[in-house]
């Protein structure tokens, strides 16, 4: 039986791995650092990790290849991708591949990092539970997956294409469960533009941590769901129907849909 550790962080910049190790260790997590993908794969041979934190742009094998390697070896460790703001498209793409559950744009503060790590750990746990439940055919899912015809940006948010080229955007149940409830939503205003993969709303959970909700599809906001803003619990109860966030006029739906899972 391999040893179980909490976090594996992979980045070719030692300053990044060092600071991630420092911040996570202070929270009592067990962290291993790797400077490239080969080293990370060696670590995964020795230990099991509850979560991997991986940079996308690296020398040698990059973050995408790391995800492929994990898939080939049948390792189901959930992965959070780290990427600079300029390569946000890459982050969106990584969510379309198996294994990546979330991403965090660089540069981040210690709190932002911990929020994403904690959320992703819980997300990984929920997914694992759901998998074992379906294997043993007992119990029900602890979260509601996206309904048919909905497209998801990883496990974070969803988009529903409505008539006349208008799309509806919302946040997925798994994300809300992993964030452990929402007490407040900070939403953008009608008329503003959204870009796929860039935060379109901030959800604050009861413990005060702020979760950025990545936008699944770019476009102009036509309408904001006032009820979601005034009554955040509505989103938690019915995230796919009455709990939508925005109605948008997509700018390039065909291109955006390529990176979404149905």
């Amino acid at each position: 039986m391999k040893q179980l550790r909490d976090i594996l962080v992979i980045d070719d910049e030692p300053t990044i791995t060092q600071v991630v190790v420092k911040v996570c260790s202070a929270e009592g997590m067990t962290v291993t650092a790797a400077n490239d993908v080969t080293e990370a794969l060696e670590c995964l041979e020795k230990c099991n990790f509850r979560l991997a934190l991986c940079d996308i742009m690296m020398h040698g094998l990059d973050g995408f290849q790391f995800l492929e390697e994990l898939d080939e070896r049948g390792i189901h460790t959930p992965v959070v991708m780290m990427t600079g703001y300029s390569t946000m498209e890459n982050a969106v793409k990584s969510l379309a591949s198996t294994g990546a559950v979330d991403y965090i744009p660089k540069p981040f503060t210690a709190d932002e990092l911990l929020t994403v790590i904690n959320r992703s750990l819980r997300c990984g746990k929920l997914l694992e539970d759901a998998e074992s439940a379906s294997l043993q055919r007992v119990g029900s899912l602890s979260y509601v997956p996206c309904p048919a015809k909905y497209y998801g940006l990883g496990y974070v948010s969803w988009v529903l294409m409505e008539d006349e080229g208008i799309a509806r955007i919302g946040v997925s149940d798994l994300f809300l469960k992993a964030a452990q409830g929402i007490k407040e939503f900070e939403l953008s205003l009608p008329g503003e533009s959204l870009v796929q993969g860039v935060p379109c709303a901030v959800a604050t959970s009861p413990d005060g941590s702020e979760h950025e909700i990545m936008c699944p599809m770019g476009g102009e906001i036509l309408e904001v769901n006032e009820q979601a803003q005034s009554n955040p619990s509505l989103v938690e109860k019915d995230p796919y129907f009455r709990g939508w966030l925005y109605r948008i006029l997509p700018s390039n739906p065909a291109a955006d849909l390529r990176w979404l899972s149905s």
């Binding site: 990044i16 600079g84 953008s188 205003l189 870009v195």
Partner: protein, 621 residues
């Protein structure tokens, strides 16, 4: 020389046509003149022959052979008569103007005899034309007209004393008169010559006139256009053809000028977007390189801040490090946003606070440069919906620019803020416009005052073209390409689907001209008067729900000022007035941010006195 091409071809064509026309005319003219001259000569010859016969008849009845012989000889000596012969029934020449021929017998097969003796049985009478024959005695001789006149047997002949002819005989003999056609032929030649001379002179005059007209109407303007195309293809897009005429070539010149102007504008835009694209690549590269060090700083400082609770002396410093690093992150983001042209993240904020924050950032720089910053801010300013980071960037840019304009000697920067009310007209830009089938009418390729125009197709009977509308609400200013002023009978259509944009049954309340209408998504209909010069414009939804509250901030310096020539290009990327000192991006970024907030930025400046930048931002919902 172009003359050698179109001009020559055209002249040649005209000359050929005239040549054919005159040739046909001359041919028929000569033919008919020939005919009428000959007819006259024939009539005259006939009469002459009849007179001669009547005269001789009398002498024959009196058997006065000597008188007959002498008479024939005398008449035959005249110039207008070539020969006179009288034959008897056997073909023997009885009398002749040439006495040597008397007694000769002509062959019955000769042309002259053929007339009556050709068909076997000799004819007893000959009529009109059959008596005539035109011939030449030899190659060089003039043409001759021969006329034969049969001498019939009459009662007086067989009752005469001599009893020379029995009554059974019908024809007694032949009178053959030959007249030269020299005079007639000379007349014909003379008229032929006259016609040839006329034709040549007409052709010469015509070709002269045609080539002059071609040169004047076609050659010169085409040469002018050719010269212009050479200039333009050589890269001189400022070259314009002088338009002095209203014909097709004048229109061509006008449309050439338009094309060149559009080309110049397109090239400028291409140049700008090229610069923007490289700026985008640069920004992405910078963002990528700066992200890792920034991550280390931000994560470490925020981690330290978390752990330093209870140590007030370091907390404040760490807070500044964290907040300024976050600001760095936002700057990198907005640089990328600028390159991607996305809109800001807006929240309610107090502009005065933002101005204070911007001033704090520049505090050191200003005090080193001996610049006094005087702020006169209105405390009752309403909160506005803005991206605070971006607006802070705007003020930092403007204050830093003002400080640069002041220079080393020191000076004063005044910042004032106040709340004002502005009408939507002249402030609001129509950024999207849809036809009934939801095609976008905003044409990014055509700009008016630097803003994408609204393009519509006009149609008046067969006349059609594009009309560009100033996108500022309230201006209702048309810019036309080659089109006379808009008037009744003109219809505006969507350039994509040709759906009519006219508001049926509605007229301009100001001047009663027809009106057009298009939709702004989610913001209702915009209507405008079709008549050029009438400024009537209505945007009901905006007019009714318009919040006319604006926040106005003025940043005024007493620095060097900006020359008038540089003012129009001030907000374009890379249009730096600072030479090596600036990047040329500050004011372009500033303009982009203010525009994204639906605000306006204007500048008032006088060289040597100073500059004032005025920013107006709508308070918003």
């Amino acid at each position: 020389m172009l003359n050698s091409k179109i001009g020559l071809k055209l002249t040649f064509g005209v000359v050929l046509t005239v040549l054919i026309a005159i040739g046909i005319f001359a041919y028929f003219n000569i033919q008919s003149e020939n005919k009428s001259l000959l007819m006259e000569v024939e009539r005259h010859a006939n009469q002459f022959s009849e007179h001669l016969k009547a005269d001789m008849g009398y002498d024959m009845l009196h058997q006065d052979r000597k008188r007959i012989r002498e008479g024939i000889q005398r008449i035959g000596e005249q110039d207008s008569v070539d020969r006179i012969q009288v034959f008897n029934k056997q073909g023997e020449i009885v009398y002749s103007s040439d006495p040597t021929e008397v007694g000769d017998v002509v062959d019955m097969n000769a042309d002259i005899c053929e007339r009556c003796h050709g068909e076997g049985v000799p004819l007893s009478s000959l009529e009109g034309q059959e008596r005539m024959r035109i011939f030449r005695t030899d190659e060089d001789s003039p043409r001759m007209l021969g006329i034969i006149n049969p001498v019939y047997n009459e009662a007086s002949c067989w009752t005469a004393d001599c009893h020379a002819h029995p009554p059974s005989q019908t024809v007694l003999g032949m009178l053959d008169v030959t007249l030269p056609l020299t005079e007639v032929d000379r007349n014909i030649r003379r008229s032929q010559m006259a016609i040839v001379v006329l034709a040549i002179s007409v052709i010469l005059i015509l070709s002269l006139i045609v080539s002059l007209l071609v040169r004047w109407w076609i050659d010169r303007p085409v040469q002018e256009l050719l010269k212009a195309t050479k200039h333009v293809s050589g890269g001189n897009l400022a070259y314009r053809v002088e338009v002095t005429r209203h014909d097709e070539l004048g229109l061509l010149a006008k449309s050439f000028n338009n094309m060149t102007e559009n080309l110049a504008q397109a090239r400028l835009q291409l140049f700008q977007s090229d610069k923007l694209a490289s700026l985008g690549r640069l920004a992405a590269g910078v963002a990528h390189e700066i992200n890792n060090p920034l991550t280390a700083v931000l994560t470490n400082s925020s981690y330290l801040l978390k752990r330093s609770q209870g140590q007030p002396e370091v907390i404040d410093d760490l807070k500044i490090i964290v907040s300024e690093t976050i600001r760095c992150r936002e700057i990198v983001k907005s640089l990328l946003d600028f390159a991607r042209q996305t809109t800001p993240k807006k929240r309610k904020a107090n502009v005065n606070e933002i101005i204070h924050r911007a001033a704090t950032v520049l505090e050191n720089q200003l005090s080193i440069g001996n610049v006094d910053l005087i702020m006169d801010l209105d405390d009752s300013l309403p909160r506005v919906t803005v991206d605070a980071n971006q607006i802070q960037q705007v003020f930092i840019n403007l204050i830093a620019n003002a400080s640069d304009a002041i220079g080393a000697s020191g000076g004063t920067i005044n910042i004032t803020s106040k709340s004002i009310n502005l009408s939507a007209k002249g402030v609001l830009q129509i950024k999207r416009a849809l036809c009934r089938k939801r095609h976008d009418l905003v044409d990014r390729k055509v700009q008016i005052d630097g803003k994408p125009a609204i393009s519509m197709r006009y149609r008046k009977k067969k006349d059609t073209g594009l009309i560009h509308l100033n996108p500022m609400y309230g201006s209702n200013e048309h810019r036309l390409n080659d089109m006379p002023a808009i008037e009744t009978g003109v219809e505006l259509q969507c350039p994509d689907c040709s759906t009519s944009l006219m508001a049926e049954g509605e007229l301009c309340p100001k001047c009663e001209a027809p009106i057009y209408a298009f939709e702004v998504p989610l913001k209702g209909l915009v209507q405008g008067c079709l008549r050029d010069g009438c400024g009537w414009h209505r945007w009901e939804q905006v007019d009714s729900g318009w919040n006319d509250e604006y926040v106005e901030v003025r940043v005024t310096d007493d620095g060097s000022g900006i020359p008038k020539s540089q003012l129009p290009k001030l907000f374009e990327p890379f249009a730096t007035t600072k030479g090596q000192k600036g990047t040329g991006l500050g004011l372009a970024v500033t303009w982009g941010i203010v525009d994204n907030h639906n605000g306006t930025i204007t500048v008032e400046s006088e060289v040597g006195v100073g500059s004032s930048f005025i920013i107006r931002i709508p308070v918003g919902s």
